[in-house]
């Protein structure tokens, strides 16, 4: 038996391919949206993995340092370091801000770290690590900076000495790593006007009249002794969950294992974005289905007389329905292939990391075929309602 669908497609191949390509653009957008979500999840995982920590210690009753603000005294790491099972600690600050470069500005996450300790930048792809105590920085390659560039972070200029790769915040902002003290300054240091203002208020307050009290309070106001998190690397053979439990119990701090931190980043921090993307995917699926349904319906309406003749000469309804269904599945397949190629082609142009997973592609293929099959029902219904008697007479 002749494959009627293949013959019909061959006869109007250009129009069919063009229709499939148009549908493919929509599927490409769908795949890209899914890739953006996957990229966000992957960014979060890379952020955690690159910190090389097993436990994240943050302010009690917070989900810090990424999901909620967290402040810890910067000497709390010494007490943590003494706990059984703790191999190393590293104090860190994280603050998302605009940094100035070459007359413009960049949105980045500035991370303060201690060299050689958990939280230091990993995956250096160019330049060298930070070796000086101040005003050197390592930047993620996505900032567009190169070693030798200078950026201004709040009041200070920093020389970019090295580059990392795939080091971005959960929002997709590339990271710049600076020494811890500079990170603390970037986040907590007041500007000079505010310091002068605080001093004037202090001098005017009779409660702080004794010079030693006033100096002590002034010192507290101008220095910053906080970090956002202490990252802990656990000794081999120790369970990070138990170490985290000990920290929670004895130090009145919140401690999360990597798995718990990942849960916070993925399930809480990017949950809204995930819902938004999910809704977009549903809308795109519905729009795609509507387009395929409309195309197949109009294609069927254009063939009603031929369908009537086919029925009159004894063609089974199943054969006619099969023809429409096969054409729909073909459109779905072409749409998927074009969509996949398009999404891979335009992914590098996206500011956020777009991660194309094979399983997402497989799901998209199945969804494309299911949507195309469902969309063909309208055309099939129109074809099955054609009366063979319509072929006879005017």
């Amino acid at each position: 038996m002749i494959n009627l669908a293949a013959a019909d497609v061959r006869a109007g191949l250009g129009r069919y391919l063009l229709t499939g390509a148009g549908l493919g653009m929509l599927i490409g957008v769908t795949l890209t949206m899914a890739g953006v979500y996957r990229g966000m999840v992957d960014d979060a995982r890379v952020l955690l993995r690159s910190a090389q920590a097993d436990v994240w210690v943050v302010q009690r009753h917070t989900l810090g340092p990424f999901a909620e603000p967290s402040q810890l005294h910067d000497d709390v790491d010494r007490a943590i370091a003494g706990l059984p099972g703790v191999a190393a600690t590293g104090r860190t600050t994280y603050s998302t801000m605009q940094v100035r470069h070459a007359g413009g500005d960049l949105r980045v996450m500035v991370a303060g770290f201690e060299p050689g300790r958990p939280g230091a930048p990993a995956f250096l792809v160019a330049g060298r690590p930070v070796t000086r105590a101040h005003y050197e920085a390592v930047a993620d390659a996505r900032t567009g900076l190169v070693p030798g560039d200078r950026v201004r972070i709040r009041r200070h200029e920093y020389a970019i000495v090295g580059l990392t790769q795939r080091m971005v915040s959960s929002n997709g902002d590339p990271m710049i790593f600076v020494p811890l003290k500079d990170g603390q300054d970037a986040q907590f240091l007041k500007d000079n006007e505010a310091i002068r203002n605080d001093r004037a208020r202090l001098a005017a307050n009779p409660a702080f009249a004794p010079p030693e009290v006033r100096d002590a309070v002034a010192a507290l106001q101008t220095t910053n002794q906080s970090v956002n998190a202490v990252l802990v690397r656990v000794r081999e053979g120790f369970d990070p969950a138990l170490v985290a439990q000990e920290i929670r119990r004895w130090k009145h701090l919140q401690a999360y294992t990597n798995a718990e931190m990942e849960e916070i980043l993925v399930a809480k921090l990017i949950a809204t974005a995930a819902k938004q993307i999910g809704l977009f995917l549903v809308i795109l699926a519905v729009v795609s289905a509507a387009i395929v349904a409309f195309i197949l319906y109009t294609m069927t309406l254009g063939k009603l007389k031929e369908i009537a003749v086919l029925k009159l000469i004894g063609t089974r309804n199943a054969t006619i329905a099969g023809m429409i269904l096969q054409e729909a599945l073909g459109l779905g397949l072409i749409g998927f292939l074009v969509g996949k190629i398009a999404s891979l082609a335009w992914a590098p142009a996206f500011p956020k990391y777009v991660l194309a997973l094979p399983e997402d592609a497989a799901r998209a293929l199945v969804a494309s075929l299911v949507i195309a099959a469902a969309a063909s029902l309208l055309g099939i219904r129109a074809a099955l309602r054609v009366d063979p008697a319509a072929a006879i007479g005017g």
Binding site: L4, D8, E306, I313, I392, G394
Partner: protein, 244 residues
């Protein structure tokens, strides 16, 4: 009853007795066919003529097993198709295997070439593709369009399309062919050619052919005619004029 049995011992290919068809019900009901009787022998070409709205198309649809008569009996090739409310079980197979259709417009499948348009019928009947195409080529040759076998429908002239549609109608060697104004879009010469072809094929394949027509050019060519008026048929002798 106006049926005049032909002087043949062969069973009639088409036998219609007291056929009626009513559309709708109550005061708005329309009796498209009232008391139709008709008989066509194998190998015979019969004209069915009548003014617009007289019931020609309804009769053709009933004979083509696509509408159900209200009353009466239709026997095709010795097999009862309708009998006072009863109908044969597989009308689709009946249409496929026993009835060929030729339409006013050729209504070829535009995305198939001439060969496959004809081969489709044997294929639907279960013939392997190669054999069906071979049969199609034979039919196209019989209709002098073998040289257009690979042409798409849009590449064929009106006359060629009509020949291909006749080849399609005869591809399964049906005992009955129903032709609905097959010459309407053609000029006199081509119209007469089509009727001559139908006449030759009727004699060659022993096919009973009913040609519904308004076409004054071809009416004189029929040896026997049924005139239909107000849903009733009257048999008339035709001129049976020679085609040349």
């Amino acid at each position: 009853m106006n049926v005049t049995p032909a002087a043949s011992v062969e069973a009639p290919a088409i036998l219609v007795e007291g056929l009626a068809k009513r559309y709708g019900s109550g005061p708005t009901a329309v009796d498209a066919l009232r008391e139709v009787d008709m008989m066509v022998q194998p190998g015979e070409v019969v004209g069915l003529i009548g003014p617009s709205g007289s019931g020609k198309t309804t009769l053709l649809k009933a004979l083509g097993a696509v509408i159900e008569p209200t009353a009466g009996r239709i026997t095709l090739g010795g097999e009862v198709v309708y009998d006072r409310g009863w109908k044969a079980r597989d009308l689709r197979a009946l249409r496929r295997d026993r009835i060929g259709f030729v339409f006013q417009q050729p209504y070829l499948i535009p995305f198939l070439d001439a060969t496959d348009n004809v081969a489709l019928l044997p294929m639907l009947a279960g013939a392997p593709n190669a054999r069906a195409r071979e049969r199609a080529r034979e039919m196209l040759a019989a209709l002098d369009v073998a040289h257009r076998a690979g042409a798409r429908v849009a590449e064929l002239s009106g006359g060629e399309q009509q020949r291909v549609s006749i080849a399609r109608a005869l591809a399964n060697r049906p005992p009955i062919v129903l032709a609905d104004e097959p010459t309407a879009p053609l000029d006199s010469e081509r119209a007469l050619t089509v009727v001559r072809i139908l006449d030759q094929l009727a004699r060659e394949y022993r096919t009973a052919i009913i040609v519904v027509t308004h076409d004054e050019k071809i009416i004189p060519t029929f040896r026997r005619l049924y005139r239909i008026r107000d849903g009733r048929t009257v048999e008339e002798a035709g001129e049976g004029r020679r085609f040349d």
